[in-house]
């Protein structure tokens, strides 16, 4: 009794290889997307550096334009802390224009929250974070600019 080995069509082999490759790459891409995390902001290069007052004034002048310019950019903001405000179990830092009441507020990345707690009102600091943009508050009657994933810029 003889055993005959059936040869696979070379085109079928190529198609099969393509399907397997596509499935592996697809699975890899899905794994990457679902496991992707934001980097530690302290290690991310800033897109620009600006003083708190200059940033506030730009938003006060035209917040639509300022939102386009600064929205979702990593920015270093230099200025004096006007308030250290309790936020649940952590703190946010604020820099305000005392003449208009407009302010910038910085929410820190979990790994940088302890360093924010050490900052005092009146202290000059440099904060790096992702600018979420600004809007006019109907409650406060002032412009407010929010930052997320912040770290002290050392």
């Amino acid at each position: 009794m003889s055993v005959t080995k059936k040869k696979l069509n070379p085109w079928f082999k190529r198609v099969l290889f393509g399907i397997v490759l596509f499935a592996v790459l697809g699975a890899g891409a899905i794994w990457y997307i679902f496991n992707e995390k934001f980097s530690d902001t302290s290690g991310v290069n800033a897109d620009l550096t600006i003083s708190a007052m200059d940033l506030i004034h730009e938003f006060e002048k035209n917040d639509s334009l300022a939102n386009k310019k600064y929205g979702e950019k990593i920015i270093v903001v230099n200025g004096m802390v006007s308030e250290v405000e309790g936020a649940d179990t952590t703190v946010n830092l604020k820099m305000a224009d005392t003449s208009t009441g407009s302010y910038i507020i910085f929410a820190f990345q979990p790994q940088h929250r302890e360093e924010a707690k050490g900052i005092k009102q009146g202290q000059e600091v440099s904060v790096k974070g992702s600018c979420s943009g600004g809007a006019f508050s109907q409650i406060l009657g002032t412009e407010f600019i929010t930052f997320k994933r912040c770290a002290l810029n050392k």
Binding site: K37, E60, E85, A107, S132, G133, Q138, L140, F144
Partner: protein
Amino acid sequence: MKKSILFIALIAATGSLFAQKKMTTSGTVNFDATTSLDQLPKAENKTVIAAIDTKNGNIGFEVPMKNFTFGNPRIQEHFNGPKWLDSEKFPTATFKGGITNIASVNFSKDGTYDADVAGDLTIHGVTKPVKSTGKITVNGKTVSANTEFTIKLEDYGVDGPQIAAGKISKEPKIMVSADLQ
């Protein structure tokens, strides 16, 4: 100078809404739309503006939508994108309402009180009346407010294939807490 005058005028105007107000700009809102299929769609926002008038129980919240922080960049992008909450067009979510059982809450005496809250919630440019129960804790000069409720995304014009597929809860949980001074 003009801005200073405008600022003082606005303070006076908002003062009529919140005559004896306690405020914070660091209120917290947690958003949880996780399902058994996907644990990623949850976020927190610690830069919420909140005000409460201890005289008449009026409450106001303003939530900057783009300052919700997700663990996953892609989910955050979808959350703010035009197919979801379109945060470019609708940068804030707001709540305007009040405590309906104000007689049960004594703002001048330390303690924790049950509060019934009703008002208008605006998300994605859509305003709906909502009711919730919460806790008001008075501790000296600080008033802490806590509540938890769910919303139906379709009520606010938010839908999409991921919601239909069960990867995002159709009724996410919203947890609000604020220490007002």
